[in-house]
C-alpha cells in the first residue's frame, strides 16, 4: 500500500439491510476508487450500529467524497483515520 495516495475512513452506520449497498453504490456511481471494505456490527455498543472501514484511493476528491458519504441517511459519521496499525494492515496476510 502506498500511504501517499491511500486514505482510511472510519464510518459509523445503521445496521440494517441495504446500508452496504448505499455506501458502496455511492462510491461506484461517483467513480471513486474503493480499495478495501471491512464491516461488522459494533461490539459491546448499540446493536443497531455497524462500524465500516473503507480504504480509498483518492487524494484530490477526498473531501468531496467524505461530504457525499455524510449525506447518506444511514451514515451516522465519517472520520478520516490514520493508516498505521489499521485493520487493513493487520489483515494483509489474508489477502495474498
Amino acid at each position: 500500500m502506498n500511504p501517499t495516495t491511500i486514505s482510511l475512513l472510519k464510518l459509523t452506520v445503521n445496521n440494517h439491510p441495504g446500508v452496504l449497498a448505499h455506501v458502496c453504490g455511492l462510491f461506484a456511481r461517483r467513480a471513486y476508487n474503493l480499495e478495501g471494505v471491512m464491516v461488522r456490527p459494533i461490539v459491546g455498543g448499540a446493536s443497531d450500529r455497524s462500524r465500516m472501514w473503507l480504504l480509498v484511493n483518492e487524494e484530490e476528491r477526498l473531501q468531496q467524497l467524505i461530504r457525499q458519504t455524510e449525506k447518506l441517511i444511514d451514515v451516522i459519521s465519517v472520520e478520516q483515520h490514520e493508516l498505521k496499525g489499521s485493520i487493513f494492515e493487520q489483515t494483509e496476510a489474508f489477502f495474498v
Binding site: P17, G18, A21, H22, G25, R29, Q63, Q64, R67, Q68, E70, K71, L72, I73, D74
Partner: protein, 569 residues
C-alpha cells in the same frame, strides 16, 4: 384471515392492514392527491384508498404518474406521492424519480412488491426496485413489516423536505400491505427539519467582499425558489445594486424586465450575459450547483472572478468551483440576515459597462414578429397572457427558445426538466401543476418529438377538465439533435426526421381534448387567442421549419465566451 392466534378471553382490539395504515399515515401528512397506476402487487393499497379522502389521479403510464406528482410538488413546494405496482410499474417510474433527484423535487414513490416469501425467485412482475431506486433517490427503503411503516412514512416526508429537497422511494411487499397489526398510537407527521446553522460572521465576510468588489455579479438558481427566498433576493440585489444572472432553474426570481436582470447564462444565454461574466471580478452563487450547461468549460468560467457560494447542500460546495468563501446554509436565512446588515450601495460604472455590453451584444430573437417562427410564436402567446399563468415545457429546442424568450416574471411560474432533461416531462407535469393550482392556467410548450413520449396523458388531463394549453412547436424533427448534427457533425442528419406525420389536433380530439391546427387556420392569431383564453384543455399545433436553430449556442464542452451565433447575429 383467521384470528385463531388471538386470546379468546380478551376483547378483540381493532386491527388494521399495512395498506390501511399507509393510507392513514399519508392522510395525516396532509396528502390531497396521489397519482398512480394500480397492479397486482399494490392491490391492497388501492383497496384501502377507496375509504380515504385522498383523491387518486389515474395516469395512463407510471412515468406520467411520477411527473404528475412532480408537477404538483414543483409549484406547491409540498411533498407529493405517486403509486405504482411492482416490476414494470416500478421500472416505469424510474425516469420520473431520477428527474426529481436532479432537480431537487420532494417526490415520494411508493411501489408494491411481490410477497417477501417470493422475493428472489424471479416471481411474476418481480424486479429489484430497491436496487433500481438506490442511486436516484436521497434514500430508499424496502419495508419488511407493517409496523415499520410507522417509522418509514413520517421519515420519508422529513427526508424529502429537509435540506436540499429530493425524492425517496418506498417498496412495500404485498404481504406487508396485508399484514394486520394493532396500532397503539400514530406517529407525528414528518416535517422539514431545521436548517443547518451557520456562522453569522460568514455573512459579514460576504458583505465585505461584495463591498470591495468592483464588478460583482449574482448568480441565482433553483435553490432560491425552493427556499421561498425570491423576494429577499430581489431586495438584496436592489439594495447592493447587484446585477444578476439566472440559471435555467432560477428563471423568474427577478422579473424579466427588472433593470438588474441579465437573463439566463450559459449554453443558450444571451451574448451580453456570458460576456458580463467574462469581465466580472466576483460571482455570488446562491442556490446554484454550477451545472455544466450554465458554466460551460469550467476553466473558462468567470476567469477573472472570485467565487462566493451559498448552498444548503455541503457536497455542492467545492464540487465544481473552488470558492473563496462558502456558506453552507438555507439561502433564505442568509439573505434575511444580510438584508438587515448590508449598507446600501450603487455601482454606476459597472452598470454602465453592462449597459454597453447589452447594447453591443444583445439577445437577438430572430423572427419574433412572425407567428410561425419559434420566437414569434412564443412572443405571441406571451402577449395574450398575464403573469398569473404557469409555464412548463418539454425538452429540446422549444424549451430553450421559451427559456430565452418567454418573460418569466414570477418565482414558481416556470417548471421544466433541467438536470435530467426528460422529453415527455411537460404534459404530465402540466397536469400536476393544474391540480395543485387550479386557479392558474398552465401553458405547456412542447415539440412533436417530446409530446409523443407521454401523449397518453392527454386522456388523463381531459378526464379532469384541466385548464391546460399544449402548444406544439412542430417541425416533424428531433430539432435539437438535428441542430447539433448540423453544427457539429457536418450536417450528417441521422435519424432525426419523423417520416410519419402525426395529426396532433386529431389525436387530441381522440382523447377528449380540444385540438386545433394553426397551420390550416384562416386567422391563426385569432384562433390562438380564443384557444388560450377559454377554459379547458386544448392542443394547439403550430408548424415551424426544421431549419430553425437555437442561438447563441456554446458547443458542449466549450467555454461560454465562444458562442456560435445565427446568421442574423
Amino acid at each position: 384471515m383467521t384470528d385463531s392466534a388471538i386470546d379468546q378471553n380478551k376483547p378483540p382490539r381493532p386491527r388494521i392492514s399495512g395498506s390501511q395504515l399507509l393510507i392513514k399515515l399519508l392522510e395525516r401528512q396532509g396528502v390531497t392527491h396521489i397519482s398512480g397506476v394500480p397492479g397486482g402487487a399494490n392491490l391492497p393499497m388501492y383497496d384501502a384508498l377507496t375509504d380515504s379522502s385522498i383523491k387518486h389521479v389515474l395516469a395512463r403510464h407510471e412515468q406520467g404518474a411520477g411527473f404528475i406528482a412532480q408537477g404538483m410538488a414543483r409549484v406547491s413546494g409540498k411533498a407529493q406521492v405517486c403509486f405504482a405496482s411492482s416490476g414494470p410499474g416500478a421500472s416505469n417510474l424510474v425516469t420520473a424519480v431520477a428527474d426529481a433527484k436532479m432537480d431537487s423535487v420532494p417526490l415520494i414513490a411508493i411501489t408494491g412488491q411481490v410477497p417477501q416469501a417470493m422475493i428472489g425467485t424471479d416471481a411474476f412482475q418481480e424486479i429489484d426496485t430497491f436496487g433500481l431506486m438506490l442511486p436516484i433517490t436521497k434514500h430508499n427503503w424496502m419495508v419488511r413489516s407493517a409496523e415499520e411503516l410507522l417509522e418509514v412514512i413520517p421519515r420519508a416526508f422529513q427526508i424529502v423536505l429537509s435540506g436540499r429537497p429530493g425524492p425517496v422511494s418506498i417498496d412495500i411487499p404485498k404481504d406487508v400491505q396485508n399484514e394486520l397489526i394493532e396500532v397503539e398510537s400514530m406517529p407525528e407527521p414528518g416535517r422539514r427539519e431545521a436548517n443547518p446553522e451557520f456562522d453569522l460572521q460568514l455573512v459579514e465576510s460576504m458583505l465585505s467582499r461584495i463591498r470591495s468588489a468592483h464588478r460583482p455579479i449574482l448568480m441565482i438558481g433553483g435553490g432560491v425558489i425552493y427556499a421561498g427566498a425570491a423576494a429577499a433576493l430581489v431586495e438584496f440585489a436592489e439594495q447592493l445594486d447587484l446585477p444578476a444572472v439566472q440559471t435555467f432553474m432560477g428563471l423568474g426570481i427577478l422579473r424579466n424586465d427588472h433593470p438588474l436582470s441579465l437573463g439566463m447564462l450559459g449554453m443558450h444565454g444571451a451574448p451580453y450575459t456570458n460576456l458580463v461574466l467574462e469581465e466580472c471580478d466576483l460571482v455570488i452563487g446562491m442556490g446554484v450547483r454550477f451545472d455544466d450547461r450554465a458554466t460551460g468549460k469550467v476553466a473558462g468560467f468567470c476567469p477573472r472572478a472570485e467565487i462566493i457560494h451559498v448552498d444548503i447542500d455541503a457536497s455542492e460546495i467545492n464540487k465544481i468551483m473552488q470558492p473563496a468563501l462558502s456558506i453552507r446554509a438555507d439561502v433564505g436565512e442568509v439573505l434575511a440576515i444580510a438584508n438587515t446588515r448590508l449598507e446600501r450601495g450603487s455601482r454606476p460604472v459597472w452598470r454602465k459597462r453592462i449597459e454597453q455590453l447589452k447594447l453591443g451584444h444583445p439577445l437577438l430573437l430572430d423572427g419574433e414578429g412572425d407567428l410561425f417562427r419559434p420566437y414569434g410564436a412564443i412572443k405571441a402567446v406571451a402577449a395574450l397572457l398575464d403573469d398569473s399563468v404557469s409555464i412548463t415545457t418539454d425538452v429540446g429546442q422549444h424549451q430553450m427558445w421559451v427559456a430565452q424568450a418567454y418573460p418569466i416574471n414570477r418565482a414558481g411560474q416556470w417548471v421544466s426538466s433541467g438536470g435530467l432533461g426528460t422529453m415527455g416531462f411537460g404534459l404530465p407535469a402540466a397536469i400536476g401543476m393544474a391540480l395543485a393550482q387550479p386557479e392558474r392556467k398552465v401553458i405547456c410548450f412542447t415539440g412533436d418529438g417530446s409530446l409523443m413520449m407521454n401523449i397518453q396523458e392527454l386522456a388523463t388531463a381531459a378526464e379532469h377538465g384541466l385548464d391546460i394549453k399544449v402548444i406544439i412547436l412542430n417541425n416533424q424533427h428531433l430539432g435539437l439533435v438535428r441542430q447539433q448534427q448540423s453544427l457539429f457533425y457536418d450536417k450528417n442528419l441521422s435519424a432525426v426526421q419523423f417520416q410519419q406525420n402525426v395529426d396532433f389536433a386529431l389525436a387530441a380530439r381522440a382523447m377528449g381534448f380540444k385540438g386545433i391546427d394553426l397551420g390550416v387556420s384562416d386567422n391563426p392569431l385569432a384562433e390562438l387567442e380564443l384557444a388560450l383564453k377559454e377554459h379547458g384543455p386544448c392542443v394547439i399545433n403550430l408548424p415551424i421549419s426544421e431549419t430553425e436553430m437555437v442561438f447563441p449556442m456554446v458547443a458542449p464542452g466549450g467555454a461560454n465566451r465562444d458562442m456560435i451565433h445565427g446568421e442574423s447575429a
